[in-house]
Amino acid sequence: MKHLKATTFLIAAALAAPLAAQEAGGRLDIVVQPEPPGLMLGLVQNGPTQLVAGDIYEGLLIYNTDLEPQPGLAESWEISEDGLTYTFKLHEGVKWHDGEDFTADDVVFSADVFLRETHARLRASLAYVESVTALDPLTVEFKLKEPFGPFISVFEAATMPMIPKHIYEGTDFATNEMNATPIGTGPFKFDEWVKGSYIHLVKNEEYYIDGLPYLDEVYYRVIPDAASRAVAFETGEVDVLPGGSVENWDVPRLTEMEGVCSTGEGWEFFAPHAWMWLNNREGPTSNKLFRQAVMYAMNREFMKDVVWNGFGNVPTGPISSKTNFYSDDVTHYDYNPDKAKELLAEMGYDGEPVRILPLPYGETWQRWAEAVRQNLTEVGINVEIDSADVAGWNEKTSQWDYDMAFTYLYQYGDPALGVSRNYTADRIQKGSPWNNVEGYENPELDEKWFAAATMVSPEERQAAYEEIQKEIVDDVPVAWMLELEFPTIYRCNVKDLVTTGIGVNDGPRNAWIEK
């Protein structure tokens, strides 16, 4: 068995960096912004929590930058011909941070008990799951009710984190005292959290892949002010600025410094897609012509260059070009203010003012809303910027109290996981800012979304999604703004930091520091 472990290690190492010899030891300081509300990945899955807890908890699979599944806690897996049975063979000798063995029972508990109760996003996928069974201590079988194309993509750490059964079984999950000192199987163990300052993780000496991780410890630093975060990086206090932790305008200045590298990779799995919800229920935005006019009125390329400093891509529709089943055979809305004015005249726009609600995530988003206001004003639309803090934004969007509202969502590698949730009528539910908030209803298209999700062959799915994209882009249910790109900035002597499709979230596992 020792032999097998060594081979796995070699494969992992080969995938990571074939040329240099890794050096063990050292400490990595990574910015985390904002401070996560908690670290129990089964309960909270927001960005900062994923970043930190991604080192503590693991999923059955890892996804590379081409979104292909790779061994994680499962060393191999099989999918039956009919696409209904998924069998995972678990890695041997995996231990929880408290020394207990990780077994198939933990997988069953996590997927079938814990996450079914706590994880709203996974719950939608688990609806397709008929049973989860431990065949033996190292083998787990998921049986589906009907084929679900993207099912192989739901085993990532933040989507289906493995939860220790021996700690949570029979307790009230949300108030379990162990939530404060999370126990996972990951390469790093939780050590200390000084609120408002830092979270300290230490190397898991018992990690099931020999030699990994290389780092001794990781500090996640909480620095509330964007300018201070940039200073922290400049003065050498921190080594890694994960995407989005400094404003885009600061990126060129920092990357031009000596010994500083940056990469746009590591976001493929999430493929953050930004758009404005256009309220389809009332006001001018309920008119399709108005929505099309908005698309033509905006110089999205200019906004990308100026507001986002050139980072990202202007999207053609609901599916990111990085996500599977993308198609660009759709109507393109290039900047055309005259066309916008024509459309407005055609609909008989009477100057009724519309409100824009920016995302309260810093100056970039504020400037973005201002640029949109400027463009829309130029074609004769009356615009006012609404303002709200994070809580206000959540309230207004989830209670549908807006005309145009900025947002961005992760796509999770597959349209059925991260895209259709924003456009099908069954996802029109008050109270959540993560569903069909714009209130777009198109029953015909709904059928197509559902059908595409349950097809088995990728070719069939590609054809189905191409048709969907073509149709929905003409309706403009929302105004697609940008495929966001969040460059990760780090010191060049930190090697192999971004090796997977979720980038820094599981980066410290393979990362090492060149001395």
């Binding site: 904002p34 309960l43 609120k195 803090d389 809580a391 993560w434």
Partner: protein, 325 residues
């Protein structure tokens, strides 16, 4: 006996004020748009009705408003500041964790600003009308007119980024394993910039006040008497003028010291100082009601505490007051 009754009535009044603050803020916060359950669910990265219902129930938000208020006030009376659902910890723990940092920052800033302010004010008053007086006064005016956060940004830029003399943010070197004296020294280094930027504004205030007060008192009759007795300038200034001139400064300082505790939000944000001001600001965006209310209560308690301390200092500086009351 009268002193005891006076103290008791003070304590009762203070408690009533605190309770009133709790109730007022409870109303204010619950009037705010933004539902903590929706925010928390939203932050989790996905949400549905089931999750939001679960959270509401857990927070007690499904109960009528008066029940929530009653429970909260009931808790306060027993010294329980409630539970922060967002941070998963009792509010009192969260504040206890952060309060020392805030106290350290504000008290240092306070001591610096008061001592330097009075010293400079006395110096300026002694040289009234001369160039050095104008210089000091102008400088104080400048500090007074400069936005605090702007000064903080500039200070970080100069002393931390360009010169590299002092750390630009944080409370101590993270993971340094310093202990004892080395740790104290490390914290001190981190303290200098925030304490100075926070202190400069108040130093300007106290300096201007001391100067004005010194000049006002120096026209009083008893000063003329002292001069007639042939006492030297410095002696008069120290024994007669300063002692009387300092009273209004102390009063104001006492009022402001308490305010500093809750008012260091800007400094704490720019310098990533892990204090309660930042805790409050961050909790506000999450509608973490209990934490915000807790910070308000603790800060208000500090204001009251400082007022009492001011009173005591007052009696020491001016013995006549004790005799009068």
């Amino acid at each position: 006996m009268t002193a005891l009754i006076a103290t008791l009535s003070r304590v009762v009044k203070a408690a009533a004020t605190l309770l009133a603050i709790a109730v007022l803020n409870f109303f204010l916060l619950h009037a705010a748009p933004g539902d903590p359950a929706v925010v928390l669910a939203g932050e989790a990265g996905a949400a549905d009705e089931q999750m939001i219902e679960q959270l509401r129930e857990r927070f007690g938000l499904d109960q009528p408003f008066y029940v929530q208020l009653g429970k909260y006030v009931g808790g306060i009376v027993q010294g329980d500041l409630g539970y922060s659902f967002r941070q998963g910890a009792p509010v009192i723990d969260l504040i206890a964790e952060r309060l020392p940092a805030t106290l350290l920052l504000t008290l240092t800033a306070f001591v610096i600003s008061l001592s330097c302010g009075i010293a400079l004010g006395v110096a300026a008053a002694a040289r009234v009308g001369k160039v050095s007086d104008s210089l000091l006064t102008t400088l104080a005016l400048l500090f007074y007119a400069t936005p605090l956060y702007w000064l903080a940004l500039m200070a970080v830029l100069v002393f931390s980024v360009w010169l590299g003399w002092l750390p630009g943010f944080g409370y101590e070197t993270v993971g340094s394993a310093y202990s004892g004296f080395a740790r104290a020294l490390d914290i001190l280094k981190h303290l200098i910039l925030p304490a100075l930027t926070l202190g400069l504004f108040f130093m300007a205030v106290y300096m201007r006040m001391t100067r004005a007060s010194m000049l006002e008192v120096s026209t009083a009759d008893f000063v003329k008497t002292a001069k007639a007795k042939g006492l030297s300038g410095p002696v008069i200034r120290r024994r007669h003028i300063l002692r009387n001139a300092i009273l209004p400064v102390v009063t104001l300082a006492g009022l402001q010291a308490g305010q500093l505790v809750g008012g260091a939000v800007l400094t704490e944000t720019v310098f990533a100082w892990p204090g309660i001001g930042r805790l409050m600001f961050e909790s506000l965006a999450a509608r973490d009601y209990n934490t915000i209310l807790g910070v308000f209560l603790v800060s208000a308690a500090m204001v009251i505490l400082f007022n009492i301390v001011t009173d005591i200092v007052y009696r020491i500086v001016d013995p006549r007051i004790g005799a009068r009351s």
